[in-house]
Amino acid sequence: MSSKQLLKRIGLGLLTLWLVSLVVFAAVIALPGDAATAILGKEATPARVAALREQLHLNDSLVTQYTQWLKGILTFDFGDSAATQQPVTQLLSDRVANSAFLVFVASIIAIPLSILMGVWTAMKRDKPADHVTSNVTLVLAALPEFVIGMGLILIFATGLFHWFPAVSLLAPGEKAWEDPQVVILPAATLIIAVVPYVSRIMRGSMIEVLESEYVTMARLKGLPERQVIWRHAVPNAIVPAIQVTALELAWMAGGIVIVEFVFQYPGIGASLVDAVNNRDMPVVQTVTMLAAAVYVILNLAADLATILVTPRLRTAGR
């Protein structure tokens, strides 16, 4: 791939992130009245409001406020939480790790599972197994994450069985991987939410490849079916699935907000909900920027991966 192509994509990604930062910053300006009154409430004394205005730099011009804020983000200084006065980085660092662990567990199961299901249903096309899978995924794909999550709680935690905890409780400072039981139901929720999408795309793409001439050719050469499928068909069918997988990973950045809230899992998604309820704008802004950055980076990675595995595109820029 030409370095020009690469630079153009990275440039577009950075431009998008910069525009996102403007939107996120604008959210603070949209606070009715002003941020200091919004945080302290209407009964706050003028002196306290003035002090907080000073602390939040609200007396500076918008441009100064924005550049200060952006400079902070670029140096990983996200300001102090309006609710607890702690630095946002300190508040979120453990939670970022917990959320990353949750997404990691969910994706190392969801991605291979959806590829296998897609390949399998494509091979069983129009047979009963395919129809059943297709109908089940159609239903599951429609369910909102919190419906899946509450359903799992009703089945596996409180109602029918008592196998897993309904709430992901961790001692302060304890990390999710030190008590992996808490991650099972949240991860299962994410997996059930994601697998129907990716496996459907994988199935469609696999069917297209199985009907192509080179697969027929490989079969005519007398190659064993296993080799036809895994050596010739799957590597080509996987290209659209890469894009979709990246989109789904990016989707998880939003999905964890609901799933973590359902299970009270101590990650950034649950922090975001708390922060929204407390109108803790620095935390809201930080989590939003993080989610947007994850989205842009994953899209970029997916584009690069697609170019790398598609010879036609690899040479297109020359």
Partner: protein, 311 residues
């Protein structure tokens, strides 16, 4: 196919991948494509099941309040008490009748989702078709704006707005609609781009038709099949998103009876009183499954063949 197109089509339910550009080309059907598609869709079992479920849930949401045995805010029994003669499905965490609250709780999520869907479809279709027709800098600007909005996960975009302005229902409708718009715009732009190349558009340009008339009168009637599928998809997502916002407690405020809020209010007592969570969970689940079945039926009808089949 470029990599960009792969991203364009392969999003969400995977339905969009299947639907682009397979509208019937029959000239006499021009302008009536949607009727043709709906008629075919209604012949499919899944559409009928979906329609049955949705009609049932809408009836419950709209007319349930007239048959509710109690007021949704009246205290009728001991908090979290089990089903009894006075409270068919028991009482919630505050002692109110679960069944009555359930019968009252569907209307808000329905109208909010419908309004958000309408907003997202109208704005998204407008932006997508104008971008497809303009083919110049305007296209670039609109699509760049699209990319920015797409970088926010939908729920986070809504929460960002709610945290700034407060839990207002109009704000939730507005932001949910705006999370749909760029996704709709992307699909409609793709569909529009194929139509723009056709002869009747050029003919209309030669005759000197106004631009907005070409977009609204020539382009729009020829992208009805992706449009119908988008309406269904967006409705499914709207219901999920609006209910989720209430569920996490930043949408409708107590003591309103609302399915999402009911789950939130009663989830801590789920082991003693599962009905108060189970009923709204089932209601929201049925609603989204129903709209998705209809959408899938419409998508299949629009392609003309089973998905995965040759078209």
């Amino acid at each position: 196919m470029s990599t960009d197109q792969t991203v364009d089509t392969a999003v969400d339910l995977g339905l969009e991948a299947a639907i682009e550009g397979h509208a019937p080309v029959d000239e006499e059907l021009r302008g009536h494509q949607w009727l043709w598609i709906m008629r075919r869709a209604l012949g499919l079992t899944r559409t009928r099941i979906g329609l049955g479920i949705v009609i049932l849930m809408v009836l419950i949401a709209v007319f349930g309040r007239f048959v509710a045995p109690h007021s949704p805010t009246e205290f009728v029994a001991v908090p979290n008490s089990a089903p009894s003669g006075t409270a068919l499905f028991g009482a919630d965490a505050l002692g109110r009748d679960v069944f009555s609250r359930w019968l009252y709780g569907g209307l808000t999520v329905l109208w909010m989702s419908a309004a958000a869907t309408a907003l997202g479809i109208v704005v998204g279709t407008g932006v997508g078709l104008v971008a497809a027709y303009s083919r110049n800098w305007l296209d670039d600007v609109l699509m760049r704006g699209n990319d920015v909005l797409l970088s926010f996960p939908a729920i986070i975009f809504v929460l960002l707005a709610v945290s700034a302005v407060g839990p207002k229902l109009w704000l939730i409708v507005l932001t949910v609609g705006f999370t749909h718009a760029p996704r709709v715009a992307r699909v409609m732009r793709g569909a529009g781009q194929e139509v723009v190349e056709r002869d009747f558009i050029k003919a209309a340009e030669v005759v000197g038709e106004k631009r907005w008339r070409i977009v609204a009168g020539e382009l729009l009637p020829n992208v009805t099949s992706p449009l119908l599928v988008e309406i269904g998809l967006r409705m499914t997502y709207s219901i999920a998103l609006v209910a989720a916002v209430s569920f996490i407690g930043v949408g409708l405020q107590p003591p309103t009876a609302d399915w999402g809020l009911m789950i939130n209010e009663n989830r801590l007592s789920i082991s003693v009183q599962p009905w108060a969570v189970f009923l709204p969970v089932i209601a929201i689940g049925l609603l989204t499954v129903g709209t998705n079945l209809i959408t899938d039926g419409v998508a299949r009808a629009a392609i003309g063949l089973d998905r995965g089949g040759k078209s």
